[in-house]
Structures are given as C-alpha cells and as structure tokens.
C-alpha cells in the first residue's frame, strides 16, 4: 500500500510537469489537471479508509549527512489520510471550477500546472514523516503561492501582492528553518518520530518550537504577519480558494498538530501561540465586518478561522490531542472553498467583487443562492452544518483545557473564541443581508447600486482596493458566460459537504467533542449577533458597516496601515544595506583605493624629479654613494 502514499505526492508533481509541457493545448492541459486530481482524490480516499499506519515509507533513500540522520520517510495514518483526502478533494473541485472560470485566460495551462504543483507540495507536507520533506513541501507552497497570486502579472497590484505574500512569508520562514534545524539537532535526526521522542536540550527545544510557531504565523497570517493575506485576493478566485481553504494557510495547523505532543509539554510556546491566535481571531473578525469587498471580507474571515484552528492547539489539554484543530481545518476547507468558488461565480455574474456592486445580486440565482447561504451559515456556525460542530469542538476543547489547569492561556483563548463567534455571526449576517436583500425602489440596475450608498461612503468603496480586477475586466470584455454544469456541480457538492462533512470527522480521534453548555452559549451568541445585525441594518436595507465612523472604517478597510509598516521595515532594511554599502565603499575600500592614489601621486612627483638633466643625476648619484657608504660601514658587522 505504500505506493499509494508515494503516488499521492508524485502524481500531482508529474501532472504539473505534463501540464506545463501541454500548456498550449488548452483542453489537454485541463484534462490532465482534472484527471490527475481525480486520481489523487481516489487514492486519497483509499489511503484514508485503509491507512497503512506506518511512518517509514522510503522515498529516495536517506541523505548521507554524517551523524545527522535524514531518512526522508513518508508516513501514513488516519490523520494524514483524512487531511490528504480533503486536500485532494478540494483541489479536484478547484481544478474543475478553474477550467470554467479561467475559460478566456491565455495562461490557463500555467495556472492549472501551478495548482497541481501546489497540491503536490501540500500533500508532501501532509504525508511527510521527516522535517526536511516537510520543509520542502512548505517551500514549494510558498513559491507556488507567489506564482498563483501574481497570475495576472500584467497588473501592478497583482505583482505587488505576490511579492508581498512571498516576502512576508519568507521572513517568517527564517524562523521556521531555524526551528526545524534546532529540533533536528536536538534529536540528531530529522525523522518525525525521532524528533517527537527525543529528550535533549531544553533550549534547543524551545528555539525549535517557537521558531516553528513564528514560521506558521507567517504562512497562516497570524498577527503581525497577517496583512499579506487580504492583498493576496489579487490572484484569481480559484487561487484564493486553494490558498485559503485547505492548503497553505491551514498547513501551519497541520504542522503544529503533528508536533502536538511536544507543544503539549511546553507551556511557553503554547502561551505565545495562544496570544497570537486570540489577538488575530478577534482583530480579523472585526476587520471582516468593515470590509467593502466580498473577497477581502472572506480573506479576513480566513485569518480569523485559521486562528481558531491554531487556538485549539494552543489551549487543548494534552490528552485530548490535536483533533479539535484538525476538525476545524477540515470544516473550514469545505465551507471556505464553497464561499470562494461561490464568490467567484457571483463575481462573474455581477462583474464586480465590491459589496456595494453586489448588493442583491444573489437573490435571482437559484443554486448559487442556496450554496452561498449554506456557506455563510456554516461559517457562522449554524447547526447542523459542519461549522457548528467544528467550532464547538474547538470551544469545548479550550474550555476543557482551561478547567484542566490550562490557566490564563486557555481562558484567554476561550474568551476570544466566544467573542469571535459573535463577530463571525455578525459579519456573515451582514454579508448575507447585503447580497440577498433586493435593492429597494431604484431597481435592479447595477449602476444604481452605488447611489444607495451615502455620498461619503462612495469614497470608501472606490478607494478601497477592489480585488480581482482582472476577472471584472474579463467579464466586461466577454460578457457573462453561462456556468458549465461541472463547475456548478462543484459548488453544489461543496455545499452538500458542509452538511454531511461532519461524518468525516467521526473517524478522527477527538474530532467531534461537543459540550452542552458551550454549544448553547455559542448558539445564543450566533443568534443574538445575527438578530442585532438584522435589526440595525433595517432588515438588510442598510449596510451595518456604514454605522462605523468613516475614518475608522476607511483605515479598517486598509488594514490599519499595516502595509505601510511593512514598507517601513523594508525601507529600514534597505537603508541599513545602503549604509553597509557606503561603509564598505568609503571606509573599507578606501585603503585599497588609497594605495592607487598614492602610487599615482608618487609617480607624478617622480616625474617632476626626472628632467633628464645630467647634473641632477650626478647629484642623486653622490647622495646615493654617501647613503650606501654610511649604511655599508655602520651595518657591516
């Protein structure tokens, strides 16, 4: 069975290569991408149902690195099987959807190939039983995210977003690499099992665990690395769905879950993780409430939801295991993929992603309306959808951790979770009301939509970066294309999965773990928040976010200037570099250059002293004789 595990990693990589070679034949490229994704999904299903429960599946043999053992093994167990299957499933859906969504894009072939490579990286990370393989998968995703976000490379905004994502995650990856090195050194091996069972230097362990948390914070968009994610909406919507739903952003959760037994023993690292996640989930949920663009709102909601996954790992008691975080990962994969693909579909219909332009556009669409509704409900945590179960599993795990001596750390997480539940329900309700409430009186014309917004808010809408301009332009150029059956089917299947996906979690230890009180409390919060939004917005006729003071809202849309801070850091680094260059050129190099100057000056002086006059040469001769004679006699003995 171990060949299945290897194939799951190798097949998408081969598909990427083949797709790249076949990029000019559009249909061939899409057939390769979809067929291989389907194969991988089937293999993933087989592996999940019957995992080989082994952690020493050899790949290319171990690396000869002296006394550091690098076996490069893959592993296969229930956890990896489930996550790999869900990833494969989501990738399959995205490949099918992309074939329709990028129907007019001349670089579809490259995009599909990149998605395949990306999937290969994620699947390698999921199934790696070795820190080196894990890092390779992690890096492959980093590079591919740069390619995917910058897909519309003719647009400066897309290029900038791609570079921003790459640089921010790269900076955090420094810590990731340091952490992995520290863990490997501590265990004298990069094998995951050896690392988990090693007992060694406490300092190295701390460095390793904290380093990995920082690396994860970069890729998962925890504060202060969060700002790249909303900008990443510049990529095509399927890329956003891929990055957000089950792969890159959530990969950090899986990494920490794999190392959970180490984190469970280390309070310091877990406290850091708890603080980061608590801050991120509340902050991102509040920003999501203020967004003017549907995709950016979803991006902030991703930040918040990923922080929830990680908070489960920060607060859960050791005996409960990482199941709560993983189940939130899987639930999030389904409903976030659904929401993004639905948003993509909607943007094609409406020709925009700005909420103001999308007002009421959901109402006349049948299946899409239902799917989006289920997606928002799942995100908000409405039973019996998967979001309710996963979120309350996390809350219950955190509560259990708090009561079982987790202390301040767990309580912080619990409080943040409840606040986030209410905020999530609020922004979901707001989005749903905006999208679904028929625009009053002035009619259905999209041009009329901005007129509804008060004058001062127009500025907000137009100045806010309206994401995915390329798609909008495409719609304007080619008109509305009817969605294909298969793409519509993908959205519907994802919607169905938000309902029945809970069954997946039953196979996961600690995957479903509901407490009565916490469930009731969160239900109340959800209902209350939704009602509050409904009533404040006058049954959906107004935008709740309009109640926020204009200045606060404008800066909230812009992420409170974090981008400026990033730019400032970049400037500072380049300034230091320039200083070093100046020091090198004007101080260090001055000495070598001075020799040249001195030599030239000496030559000039020498030329002045040589004027081909015999008397001068006689003079120097005499001086030389005296010098030589004196030196010769005095120094003779």
């Amino acid at each position: 069975m171990s060949w299945i595990v290897r194939m799951i990693v190798v097949l998408p990589a081969l598909a990427a290569l083949a797709g790249l070679l076949a990029r000019r034949q559009r249909s061939l490229a899409s057939v390769i991408a979809v067929a291989v994704s389907a194969c991988v999904a089937v293999l993933g299903l087989v592996q999940w149902v019957a995992p080989s429960r082994t952690a020493d599946i050899t790949t290319i043999g171990s690396l000869p690195l002296g006394d550091l053992s690098v076996p490069l093994h893959l592993l296969s167990d229930r956890l990896s099987g489930l996550v790999a299957f869900v990833v494969a499933l989501v990738v399959l859906g995205i490949q099918v959807f992309t074939a329709w969504y990028l129907r007019d894009d001349p670089r579809y072939g490259q995009f599909a190939a990149t998605v395949s490579l990306f999937a290969s990286g994620m699947l390698l990370l999921v199934q790696s039983g070795d820190l080196v393989l894990l890092l390779i998968g992690w890096e492959v995703m980093g590079w591919c995210s740069w390619l995917l976000i910058g897909h519309d490379s003719e647009r400066p905004a897309a290029r900038r977003a791609a570079y921003k994502a790459f640089l921010v995650t790269r900076v955090a990856d420094i810590a990731m690499v340091v952490g992995i090195v520290a863990l490997s050194v501590q265990a004298r091996s990069t094998d995951l099992m050896a690392v988990l069972t090693a007992s060694g230097d406490d300092t190295l362990l701390t460095v390793g665990l904290v380093g990995i948390i920082i690396g994860v914070a970069g890729k998962s968009g925890l504060v202060p690395f969060h700002d790249w994610l909303p900008d990443a909406m510049e990529g095509p919507t399927p890329a956003s769905a891929l990055i957000h739903a089950a792969t890159m952003v959530a990969a950090g959760t899986y990494v920490i879950a794999r190392l959970f037994s180490l984190y469970a023993e280390h309070d310091g690292a877990r406290t850091l993780l708890a603080v980061l996640t608590a801050v991120t989930m509340v902050y991102a949920a509040m920003l999501a409430l203020a967004q003017t663009d549907l995709k950016r709102m979803l991006a902030y909601s991703t930040l918040s939801q990923v922080a929830i996954m990680l908070s489960a790992l920060a607060a859960a008691p050791a005996e409960l295991g990482p199941g709560a975080g993983i189940s939130q990962l899987i639930g999030h994969a389904f409903f976030k993929a659904l929401l993004f693909l639905g948003a993509g579909w909607l943007s094609v219909l409406a020709g925009a992603t700005a909420l103001a332009a999308l007002r009421g556009r959901l109402r006349p669409t049948g299946a899409l309306r239902w799917s989006m509704g289920m997606g928002f409900a799942a995100l908000a945590g409405v039973p019996p959808l998967i979001g309710f179960f996963t979120k309350d599993t996390v809350i219950d795990a955190a509560l259990e951790g708090a009561t079982a001596g987790g202390g301040l750390r767990a309580w912080l997480v619990v409080v943040a979770l409840f606040v986030t539940v209410a905020l999530t329900a609020a922004y979901c309700a707001r989005a749903w009301l905006l999208l679904d409430t028929a625009v009053a009186a002035s009619g259905e014309l999209p041009e009329a939509a901005p007129a509804v917004v008060a004058e001062e808010h127009v500025a907000v809408v137009t100045t806010a970066d309206s994401a995915d301009d390329a798609e909008v332009e495409r719609v304007h150029a080619h008109g509305h294309a009817a969605i294909t059956l298969s793409a519509a089917l993908v959205v519907s299947v994802l919607a169905a999965l938000t309902l029945v996906g809970t069954l997946f979690l039953t196979t996961l230890r600690g995957g479903l773990h509901l407490g009565l009180v916490s469930s009731l409390l969160s239900l109340l919060l959800v209902a209350g928040a939704a009602y509050a939004v409904w009533s404040v917005s006058d049954r959906g006729r107004l935008d709740v976010a309009d109640r926020i003071p204009v200045r606060v809202r404008e800066s909230a849309v812009r992420g409170f200037g974090v981008d400026t801070a990033y730019v400032g850091i970049g400037r500072a680094v380049t300034a230091v570099a320039r200083l070093v260059v100046v020091l090198d050129r004007d101080v260090v190099d001055a000495y070598p250059r001075a020799t040249a100057v001195v030599a030239r000056a000496a030559g000039r002086a020498g030329e002045r002293g040589h004027r081909a006059v015999p008397s001068l040469s006689l003079l120097s001769l005499l001086a030389g004789v005296v010098l030589v004679a004196v030196l010769g006699v005095t120094a003779w003995r």
């Binding site: 040249a596 030599a599 030239r600 000496a602 030559g603 000039r604 020498g606 030329e607 040589h610 081909a612 015999p614 001068l616 040469s617 006689l618 120097s620 001769l621 005499l622 001086a623 030389g624 004789v625 010098l627 030589v628 004679a629 030196l631 010769g632 006699v633 120094a635 003779w636 003995r637």
Partner: protein
C-alpha cells in the same frame, strides 16, 4: 710568465667576439660599402660565443673551467699574503654560474643583432660606415661582458667592465637623434663617476686585503689570517678596521655597479637613454649590460661571502628604493620604451633583492631572477621592435597595441607571455618562479620589512604590466578605428621591409621564454 698556463678552449666565449670584431674591421677595410656582412659576422660571433659557453654549464659542485693560472710561487712573489702561501690562483674562472651568465649575454646579443639587422636599401650614402661600427661596438661590449663574468683579478675585472660599458655609450650616441645624444651624455657622465667609485672601491679592497684577487681567500686574509704572513704590509692594520675597509670597498663597488644595473638613485640616465636610442640598442642596454653588471657584482660578492657577513643593509635599501620608484614611475608611462625603462629599474631592485643575504643561496637566486628578467625583457623589446617596424609613427605608445590580439595573435601571445612573466603571473610561470626564488633568501634571513616591500611592489608591478596587456587583448573602440588601421597596415606593407632577421630574433627569444616557462626547472638547474 713562467707559471701561466693558457687554455684557449676555455677562453673561446671571449675570444670569438674579439675575433669577430677584428674580422669586421678587416672586412670594412676591404669593402666599406657592405651593410649586412658586418652584422652577419657579429651574429656568427655571438652564436659562437653562446656555443662555446655551453660546455661550462654542465659543471656542478663548485668545479670551474679555469685558465691563466699562477702557480703558488708566483703568487707569493706577487706579494699576496695567502693562508699557506701555496694556493694556486687563476685569473679566469668560469663555473656554472659564470657560464650561464655568459650564455645569457651571448644569446641576448644575438637577439639584439637580429633586431638591429640593417635594411637592404641604403638611404644615404653617408651612412655607409655605420653598420660596421655598430657591429664592432656590440661585439666589444659582448666580449667585455663575457670576460667580466669570469675575471678574478681587479685589473681584468675593471677593464672588462669598462669594455662592457663604454661601447654602449657610443652605441646610444650613434642612434642619431637629438635625444640620443642627451641620453648618451647622461650615460657618459654617470658612468665616469661610477668608474671612479669602482676604482676607489677596488683600491680599498687592495688596501684591506693586500691582494689583487677578487677571491674568497683574499677576502679572508683581511679578516684575521694576516698573522700567518708576517712582514706583510697589513700587519699594522687592526682586524676590525680592515674588515670595515672591506665593507666600504664592497659598498663602493655596489654603488659603482648600481649605475649599470640602474638601481635608484643611480638610475637617472635610464629612461633618457632608452627613449633616445633605437630599440635594438635599448634592448642591448636592458639585457647584455645588465648581465655584465650583475656578473661583475657577483664576482665581488662571492668573494665577500666567505667572510660570513650577515647581510647588507645598503643593498636592502637600494633594492626597495629601486622597486618602488621603478614601478610607480612605470605606472605613469604611455611610451612603451619608457615603460620598459622604468620596469628595468624596478626589476633591478628585484635582481639585487636576494643579495641582502650574501651567500650562495642569495647569489644563485639573484642570477636566476636576472635570467628570467632578461628573457622576458628580450621578448617584450623584440615585439616592440617588430611593431615599430609596422607602424613607424606611433608604435611606441600603448594605444598602438590596442587590438594586437586580433591583428597579430602570435606576436600578441609572445608579448602577453613576456608581460605576465615580468609581472609574475601565470601563464608566465617563470616570472612567478623567479619572484619566489628571489624572496626565499630574504625570508630566510628574516628581513620581514623587505619582504613586505617586495610583496607590495609585486602587486604594483602587476598593475604596471596589466595596463599594457589590457590594451593588447582588448579590441579597439569601434569600427571607425578599423579603417585607418587597415590603411596603416597597407602603408606598412607598402613600405614593405618586414625583415626576416628581426622576426627570427623574436622567435628565438620567444622560444626560450616558452621553454623556460613550461619547464622552469631547466633554468633553476642551470644555476643549481
């Protein structure tokens, strides 16, 4: 003259140039209009001298080919105090080192003669007597050089050294231009003063040792062995004073010879004379004259070496001054002959550098370096001469060498090898070997500051030669430059006197350079 045994075979390297000289004069007497025959005779004489010097190379382990030997009785009668009063002293001693220097001088002279090979057509009838005179002077200087390398008594030594010097002054003056006269004047004045110094040094040597011989035995007799010769004139001299006088004699000789080696501060004539004379004469000055000077210096220093003198600070000072000033000045020259003149000054510093350690090691290293310098300089001058033939107008500026690599790859290759040898960079391996050899005695004696000065100068020297080399291997600026280039080449072809002898000289010199570069061991073994 009872005890005087003469071995003519040993004397051949000196006799052949003299015979050639007489023959040239005789031929000129018969037919003064011949232009090429004197040069052919001179070339054959130089070739013969080189061939005659070859048997002396195989000598190893201090054995010598000697002649003009005086028996012990005669020596004693000659009032020379010797240790046991029995030693046989020979006035001509050619060992491996001397033989090698003679060979180098002969080959260099041969190349110079090839470079100076006269044209067929005569420009002015009045010039008709010039070629024989030049040939005679060249042969005379060569004979002086060969003799000085083997001389062991002060008389022969002084006369041979002057024989190697004075014809060169005439040669420079004969080059004809105004600047040549200025150079010759400066050379003459300096050489007169230097000769005075040499005579003074020799006189002091005689005073201190009481011996007319420049041999180790004579030097030792000054140090403390004089008690063995009671009644001699030196009994009243205190040992320390006597030794001091030997020291003074040595440094005066160094100063006198330093003029010929163009060591700073006795160098001032060098650029003027080189730039003023024709290229073959400048080549002669840069090679044969330097061999003569070093051979003369080594004769004295090998005698002094027996005293076990620690080292000579004055040589260290002269070497570092020469290297530094020569390189720094060479860095600013745009005229390649002037550049080579200053490079000679710098290289002279390198040549005497190992002599700070007055020992067999230092002497051997100095001779090795001199040979590498002579070979590389010969090639560089030969290339200059050939190029000047192509472009009579501007062939002496560095700019004229731009794109030489494209136009004449072989010539450019020879020049590149010569310049890298002078700089001490691969592919001029021999230059690198020479520099390492020259530094070894310095380091062995612990002269750290001198080694540092030498290293710094090696770096500046690289800049000096690379400046020229860069012009050789870079293409000229644009296509616009190509047109006059072709025109010039065509005009050169029209004036049409590509002299085969000149090219042969270049080929000979280059062949020697390539051989010693590929197999530096050959050169090291010669002096080993």
């Amino acid at each position: 003259m009872n005890g005087l045994a003469i071995d003519y075979a040993t004397l051949l390297p000196a006799l052949l140039p003299v015979a050639g000289l007489v023959l040239v004069l005789a031929v000129d007497l018969v037919n003064p209009r011949l232009r090429r025959v004197p040069y052919a005779i001179a070339g054959l004489a130089a070739l013969g001298a080189a061939a005659a010097a070859v048997p002396g190379l195989a000598l190893g382990g201090g054995s010598t080919r000697e002649t003009f030997c005086l028996t012990g009785r005669d020596v004693a009668a000659g009032a020379a105090p010797t240790i046991d009063g029995v030693s046989q002293v020979c006035l001509w001693q050619a060992d491996a080192l001397g033989g090698t220097l003679q060979l180098a001088a002969a080959i260099s002279a041969l190349v110079c003669i090839a470079l100076a090979w006269p044209a067929t057509r005569r420009r002015r009838p009045a010039d008709s007597t010039r070629e024989p005179v030049e040939a005679v002077l060249l042969l005379a200087a060569l004979a002086g050089t060969v003799v000085v390398a083997a001389s062991r008594d002060v008389g022969t030594w002084l006369i041979a050294l002057e024989l190697a010097t004075l014809p060169v002054i005439a040669l420079v003056a004969l080059s004809g231009r105004r600047s040549a006269v200025a150079g010759a004047t400066q050379l003459l004045v300096t050489s007169l003063v230097s000769f005075a110094l040499l005579v003074l040094g020799v006189a002091l040597w005689f005073t201190a040792t009481g011996s007319p011989f420049l041999t180790p035995d004579a030097a030792l007799s000054s140090g403390g062995a004089f008690t063995a010769a009671p009644g001699g004139p030196s009994t009243v001299v205190f040992p320390s004073t006597s030794a001091g006088v030997v020291g003074l004699a040595t440094v005066l000789v160094i100063a006198g010879v330093g003029f010929k080696l163009s060591l700073v501060p006795f160098h001032a004539w060098t650029p003027t004379a080189y730039a003023g004379s024709s290229v073959p004469i400048a080549t002669f000055l840069a090679t044969v004259s330097k061999v003569a000077a070093l051979a003369a210096l080594l004769v004295v220093l090998r005698a002094v070496a027996a005293l076990g003198t620690p080292a000579l600070l004055s040589i260290a000072v002269l070497a570092s001054l020469s290297m530094t000033l020569g390189n720094v000045m060479a860095l600013r020259q745009d005229d390649v002959v002037r550049l080579l003149a200053w490079s000679t000054v710098a290289q002279a510093g390198w040549v005497v550098l190992p002599l700070v350690s007055i020992s067999a090691l230092g002497v051997g290293a100095s001779a090795t370096y001199l040979l590498t310098y002579v070979v590389a300089t010969l090639v560089a001058f030969a290339v200059v001469a050939v190029t000047l033939q192509d472009r009579p107008g501007d062939g002496r500026s560095i700019a004229a060498y731009e794109g030489l690599w494209q136009r004449h790859p072989w010539r450019a290759g020879a020049l590149a090898l010569a310049l890298t040898s002078l700089a001490g960079l691969p592919p001029g391996v021999i230059g690198l070997v020479g520099k390492v050899t020259a530094l070894r005695p310095v380091v062995a004696e612990g002269w750290v500051w001198l080694a540092v000065v030498a290293a710094v100068n090696a770096v500046i020297g690289v800049a000096v030669y690379l400046r020229w080399l860069r012009a050789v291997i870079t293409a000229p600026d644009g296509e616009s430059d190509g047109e006059p280039d072709i025109a010039r080449a065509r005009s050169g072809a029209r004036s049409g006197r590509r002299r085969p002898a000149m090219v042969a000289g270049l080929v000979l010199a280059s062949a020697v350079l390539v051989v010693v570069s590929v197999q530096p061991d050959l050169l090291l073994r010669l002096l080993g």
